[in-house]
């Protein structure tokens, strides 16, 4: 998953980046509303972690702007305010969830998984196709009950494909979800990851659609 963190406190923002990367995700972070707007326009994110009080405006206004222009990216609000009113206002303006500061990193990760999952219309926490089970919370993959060890990137590629089995995901789309802004992308990185994945989870599961991308083969 690729997550945008909008938080102006440098220590918290750094902790969120490093902490959420431990969940195998790609994290981009910005410190204000204007930068967040630019980031949202430039790339697709699976979820946004949004602080309410930002130096150049309110997170609520950013949220309202997002929803007005039809951006449905799931948003989790981080609020340091106690008042129920603020939470209610946040949810009513289009937030999907909120957490009060200080929060638990594991809970934040779980909530992000939940809102990202709901967005794809899925209720089951684990992704399953033909004996292959991906558990995004535990970062584990099993094939016919046997655990398979994957690198972080390999897991991310598999998770993107498994989110919507049968749907073709382009190489650019997969790269987008895999790499943050500052990361160098080797031109054949996705091909290499898919090649390795096939060796680990089975040759036939991941299908190459020439010129378009990859998809998980679903039994007709």
């Amino acid at each position: 998953m690729r997550i945008l963190v909008v938080e102006d406190d440098p220590v918290l923002s750094d902790g969120l980046k490093v902490g959420l990367e431990l969940s195998g995700w790609t994290i981009d972070r910005v410190g204000g509303c204007a930068d967040a707007d630019a980031a949202l326009a430039a790339a697709a994110f699976d979820a946004v972690v949004l602080d309410l009080m930002l130096p150049d405006g309110s997170g609520l206004d950013l949220l309202a702007t997002m929803r007005r222009r039809g951006d449905a990216t799931p948003v989790l609000l981080l609020t340091a305010l106690d008042e129920t009113v603020d939470r209610v206002r946040g949810l009513d303006r289009g937030a999907d969830d909120y957490l009060g500061k200080p929060f638990d990193l594991d809970e934040l990760a779980a909530r992000l998984r939940a809102i990202a999952r709901r967005r794809t219309g899925r209720a089951a926490p684990r992704l399953e196709v033909a004996g292959l089970v991906v558990d995004p919370a535990a970062l584990t993959v099993t094939v016919d009950g046997e655990a398979v060890a994957l690198s972080r990137r390999e897991f991310a590629v598999l998770a993107v494909l498994m989110e919507r089995p049968g749907v073709i995901r382009s190489r650019g789309e997969i790269e987008d979800r895999l790499y943050g802004w500052q990361e160098e992308i080797e031109s054949n990185a996705v091909e290499v990851h898919v090649h390795n994945l096939r060796a680990k989870v089975g040759r036939t599961l991941i299908e190459t659609v020439r010129g378009l991308g990859y998809r998980i083969r679903v039994a007709e």
């Binding site: 918290l12 340091a80 500061k101």
Partner: protein, 436 residues
């Protein structure tokens, strides 16, 4: 309890009572004078009547009294006829044996035994008789008392009813006050809406508008306090969230470098939070402090050196202090002065990239001091917000936005004024403190 209703009730009752007493006194005196007049006329008339009945000196009356009449009032008049040589010719029943008559003609008060009489005497030398008609003054007084009593008794009986009516009327008249009191009493501590004057009478309106004014002031103060609490909560919880997240990262990370990095971040955050807490406390102290103007004079150079060393070592900045400041004395509380100087210095250091120059100088005429930095300055539109609480500006400053607020408040407490402007002809900011 000092009740307005009881007070008005007693006042009204006393005033009504006083008016009544005056009326009774007036009626008493007036009736008595009128009665005296009528009764005197009756005496005179009776005396003349008896006198005309007496034939020219040859009457031989019996000196026995007539049979007594029925009521006390009927026996009111007594009549005596005396011969001029002092012999009682005739008398009416109830008339005393002693002579009522006097030597001269006309009215007189006479004491007979223990009773006072009012007597009218006619002396007729031609007929050789003296006719005296009198009545008891005691009886006259009884008449007057009866008359006044007849007026006062019903009034006294009505008095409790009048009191009740006054009491009820007051209750009704004071109802608008009770309505206002009831509305205020029914509110909880949160409700600061102004009281609707409704159809309150003109006398109650000033009270309502005064209370509304007070409610407005309290509401402003409360909103201000809530704002500060909310900001403080935000400013403290965010670093706490950072600390917790970094601690969890340190726990979850398997490699040593990652753990060290997280622990380093924790130390940075603890230092910043400690600074923030002391700033919040300074802010709270300054806001509660009314005025710190004092006769004490502080050496600016010494105060400045202390403030600069408290602000911590500057990373490669060039710090210049105008030598004039060494000999300059400024008035005011040393602690407030320290807050002003330290926060201005920290602000300058924070916004000046090393190796920038920071210069403290005395204002012309010794009316204050100023600090210039080499930083980027501040966009014109943000200048006026610089000293607002928690204002951080768009420059991406790392502080909590409290330093300049504290400097401004502390300067005000010193009786000085903090002015911040972009430097003319150079980049950077100039903050000056001027004593008025």
């Amino acid at each position: 309890m000092n009740s307005l209703r009881r007070r008005l009730f007693l006042l009204l009752l006393a005033a009504t009572g006083a008016v009544w007493l005056c009326a009774v006194g007036w009626i008493y005196l007036g009736s008595r004078a009128e009665l005296e007049h009528v009764l005197d006329a009756r005496l005179q008339e009776a005396a003349r009547m008896v006198h005309s009945l007496v034939a020219g000196g040859n009457i031989t009356g019996r000196a026995e009294p007539l049979p007594p009449p029925g009521t006390g009032y009927e026996r009111q008049l007594a009549c005596q006829i005396w011969s001029l040589d002092g012999e009682l010719v005739a008398r009416s029943s109830g008339a005393p044996n002693a002579s009522l008559a006097q030597d001269t003609e006309g009215f007189a008060d006479r004491r007979m035994g223990d009773e006072l009489w009012r007597v009218y005497t006619i002396v007729d030398p031609a007929k050789g008789v003296r006719v005296a008609v009198g009545d008891r003054i005691g009886l006259r007084d009884r008449l007057v008392r009866g008359l006044v009593g007849g007026l006062v008794t019903p009034a006294l009986l009505i008095a409790p009813l009048l009191g009740l009516l006054i009491w009820l009327g007051l209750g009704r008249g004071l109802r608008p006050l009770n309505a206002v009191a009831g509305e205020i009493a029914a509110r909880d501590g949160e409700d600061m809406r102004p009281i609707a004057p409704g159809d309150a009478p003109a006398e109650v309106r000033p009270l309502i508008s005064a209370i509304n004014g007070l409610l407005g002031k309290v509401e402003v103060a409360r909103r201000h306090e809530r704002e500060i609490t909310a900001f403080a909560a935000h400013e403290l919880r965010t670093p706490l969230a950072g600390l917790k997240t970094q601690a969890q990262v340190a726990l979850a990370t398997t490699d040593a470098a990652g753990r060290d990095r997280a622990l380093g971040q924790i130390i940075v955050s603890v230092d910043r939070t400690a600074r923030l807490v002391s700033q919040l406390l300074a802010l709270a102290r300054l806001e509660a402090m009314p005025d710190a103007r004092s006769e004490a004079r502080v050496n600016a150079g010494t105060a400045l050196r202390e403030a600069i060393s408290a602000a911590g070592a500057a990373a490669g900045h060039v710090i210049e202090i105008d030598p004039v400041l060494e000999g300059m004395e400024v008035p005011g509380d040393p602690e407030c002065l320290h807050l002003v100087l330290r926060n201005l210095h920290e602000n300058a250091v924070r916004h000046t990239p090393a190796p920038g120059r920071i210069r403290w100088s005395a204002l012309p005429g010794g009316e204050g001091l100023a600090i210039d930095d080499d930083g980027p300055g501040v966009p014109g539109g943000e200048l006026e917000h610089l000293t607002s609480r928690f204002f951080r500006g768009s420059g991406g400053a790392s502080g909590a936005g409290l330093g300049l607020t504290i400097a401004r408040l502390a300067a005000e407490r010193l009786g000085a004024r903090l002015a911040i402007a972009n430097r003319e002809g150079a980049c950077g900011l100039r903050s000056s403190v001027t004593w008025r």
